[in-house]
């Protein structure tokens, strides 16, 4: 099957391309980006992308596909469909599945289900410790062999510093990145909301920034000692951005990401006890939000993730503190990112880079770019459509988005995975 997508604005930060041109696909791969068809190319299908953007399929370093088991809604089959509806074609799924992805068998199960779904590229992240218990190391090398692109503790950071030190040292020789969420359980102290004016007024148990930064400081020291390639997941505090900037300056092999909602929302949004705003780490202050945006802008924060967590309705139909944290966010990642660009917080190429080239580099994967020879994973984005989100109409099985009623300019029109159309938007 040969396809040409014509006259679109091709934005591919990995190749420094931002130009109106054509993309030629052949046998599921990118053949060329050019104004003229390569010699001998006859298209079986022509797609006109005039006034539209052509982007590499997005790479998401953190998204729950609720498969196998787990407390989340949906399955690999349903959630990969939601991903491509949001222009995301490569997904890293954390190991907090049920059973935990701490063995080759579970990794292979995830891969098999993803192949059957054939909608997006699913890259499992293996557990750093067995059952994520933070005590015994997992068979990290076997997990890597099975195809895990990284190792992590999902949302259950290792609290014991010695165990973490051993885990990092062991993994350092295996050439696989470790993803670390920084959270000191004791300092978190069963907290629910960022410690600030809103938690003070509403009497919500507080999570101080030190719950993140104290853990980050410890982890940075251990990362330096072990020499492991470390990626810090979902940082949320301005101080964390400074600490990672300093670590990078010292030449440590560290990268980090932020969840999209941390760049859009703040603690102010939690004022009405609306459980849809409950996430972990919590929405923080306006200052933190500004610092995180600045971190993306300056490249200290490498990647932006969806932190997609599709939940059953009942998980949110509870008082704030009893509700399950998380947002269903595959289908709003790109729209919110473009909103940040429209509101002049980020420039377009930095924004796209943070969801394509950079995350792909972190997991050393050939996605996130329209380079010739790469899998033809891309999305056509219409930057002029004005639409309003109704979470009930989302493709994801999790309807837990706080962005219902938000108006967006720009929407994914079509997504290709391995050269096949896997999503087409039907505007209502």
């Amino acid at each position: 099957m040969r396809i040409v997508i014509k006259n679109g604005r091709v934005i591919d930060p990995a190749q420094n391309i931002d130009a109106t041109t054509n993309v030629y696909l052949s046998r599921g791969r990118i053949l060329e980006i050019a104004n003229q068809a390569p010699e001998g190319f006859t298209a079986d299908q022509e797609i006109d992308a005039t006034d539209k953007w052509i982007l590499p399929g997005l790479v998401d370093l953190q998204a729950r596909l609720s498969d196998p088991g787990s407390n989340y809604a949906g399955s690999i089959a349903t959630e990969t469909k939601a991903a491509v509806a949001g222009g995301i074609t490569s997904i890293c799924c954390p190991p907090d599945t049920s059973p935990v992805n701490d063995t080759q068998a579970v990794t292979e199960l995830i891969q098999r289900r993803a192949r059957q779904a054939a909608t997006a590229f699913v890259m499992p992240i293996g557990a750093l410790t067995q059952e994520l218990n933070g005590e015994r190391l997992s068979n990290s090398y076997s997990l890597k062999q099975a195809g895990c692109v990284a190792l992590s503790q999902a949302n259950q950071p290792i609290q014991n510093a010695l165990t973490l030190k051993n885990a990092l040292e062991y993994v350092a020789t295996l050439d696989i990145p470790v993803m670390l969420r920084c959270e000191d359980e004791k300092l978190k102290n069963n907290g629910i909301a960022h410690s600030g004016p809103i938690s003070s007024r509403l009497g919500l148990p507080e999570i101080p920034p030190s719950a993140e930064t104290a853990a980050l400081a410890r982890d940075l020291v251990l990362v330096e000692e072990s020499g492991v390639k470390a990626h810090f997941s979902q940082i949320s505090c301005s101080r964390s951005v400074e600490m990672i900037a300093e670590a990078k300056k010292r030449g440590l092999p560290v990268t980090c990401d932020v969840a999209i909602h941390q760049l859009i929302l703040s603690e102010m949004d939690t004022m009405t006890f609306n459980s849809l705003y409950r996430v972990s780490p919590p929405l923080r202050s306006m200052d933190d939000k500004a610092a995180l945006i600045m971190g993306v802008k300056t490249g200290i924060i490498d990647a932006i993730v969806s932190d997609h967590s599709p939940l059953e309705k009942d998980s949110k139909l509870l008082p704030y503190g009893e509700s399950v944290p998380g947002m269903s966010s595959f289908e709003t990642l790109l729209a919110l990112l473009v909103k940040l660009v429209q509101e002049n917080h980020l420039d377009l190429s930095t924004a796209i880079r943070a969801v394509t080239q950079n995350p792909a580099n972190i997991i050393a994967c050939n996605t996130g770019s329209l380079e010739a020879g790469n899998s033809a994973d891309l999305c056509i984005f219409d930057p002029n459509i004005i639409w309003t989100l109704d979470a009930q109409n989302m493709v994801s099985e999790g309807k837990n988005s706080p962005f219902t009623g938000w108006e967006f300019i720009g929407q994914v029109e079509q997504t290709f995975f391995q050269g096949r159309p896997v999503f087409r938007n039907n505007p209502v």
Binding site: S195, S200, G203, L204, P205, T272, D314, P319
Partner: protein, 355 residues
Amino acid sequence: MSGRLVARNIQLNELGKLEHFLTLEGLKAHHLTEILDTAESFINPQTNEIRKLPLLRGKSIMNLFFEPSTRTRTTFEIAEKRLSADIESLDIQTSATKKGESLLDTLWNLQAMQADMFVIRHAESGAAHFFAKHVAPHVHVMNAGDGQHAHPTQAMLDMYTIRKHKGDIFDLKVAIVGDVLHSRVVRSQIQALSILEAREIRVIGPKTLMPSDPAAMGVHVYHNIEEGLEGVDVIIMVRLQNERMKSALIPSEKEFFKLYGLTEERLALAKPDAIVMHPGPINRGVEIDSAVADGSQSVILEQVTYGIAVRMAVMAILISNAAQLAQHKAEQESQLQIEGLDSEQDETEKMEDEK
């Protein structure tokens, strides 16, 4: 951010009157004054006795206590009986609801049993808001304490007590001493005092018992009780709970008393006619000296009586506001019908004219 509407205060109805009583935040002085005035009308000024009234006859109130309580629950029950309501009290263990039916199923089941009002106490901040969002339109929710968030009836009875002794709350300096961080009562007291425009609200206690941003609550923080009590009109002592020692927030009761206990010497720093309040139960020798608790400036026991009248007042207001809203809607509807008839008439006349 763009594209969002400011949420309506869910405890007010279309006429801006109380429909639920969840928190004092967002209420106006007239809402609070109405509660205080109504409560006053329930108390016989000569005997301090509370009248029995038929205002809630035929109404059914369910007291749902997801967290154990004896005193608050008892005063609510007495208040409900004095208003002639039919009442039912249920102790619901959160763990039991977690096992089987969801919290909302429990609520909807009870609602199906013809409840007109729920009085709810729950360990989670925001629980009363959650219930208010999900009850049927005709059902009222009263917050009897949610987590560390609010305990508005307790705060209102404290305002009643202050007004009783000091006249107007406007222009008073009030000091609140103790555990501000964990106290829903204090949060509600601070809101009530701000709404009623107290001249200054001070909170006094160690940093470990203060929230991260007390200034957001509109108070001045003191870590030294002598400085904090200087020249105040009202002193509110807050009960110190034993768990605080276990979680390493303070070393011991003894040391807390040394630093923050209300003694006669310290009381002397306040205005000579200052009153001393405590929402109870008192820990003698921990936050307050017996001599002060039983002294002439203490008004601690009065507070209990007023608690009944204030709770009666809130319930009566919620029910009467609902009746008023129904009447308002009926009037609007009949007005529309009359207008509809008029316009029909106009049209027939017009048609006739055209003929």
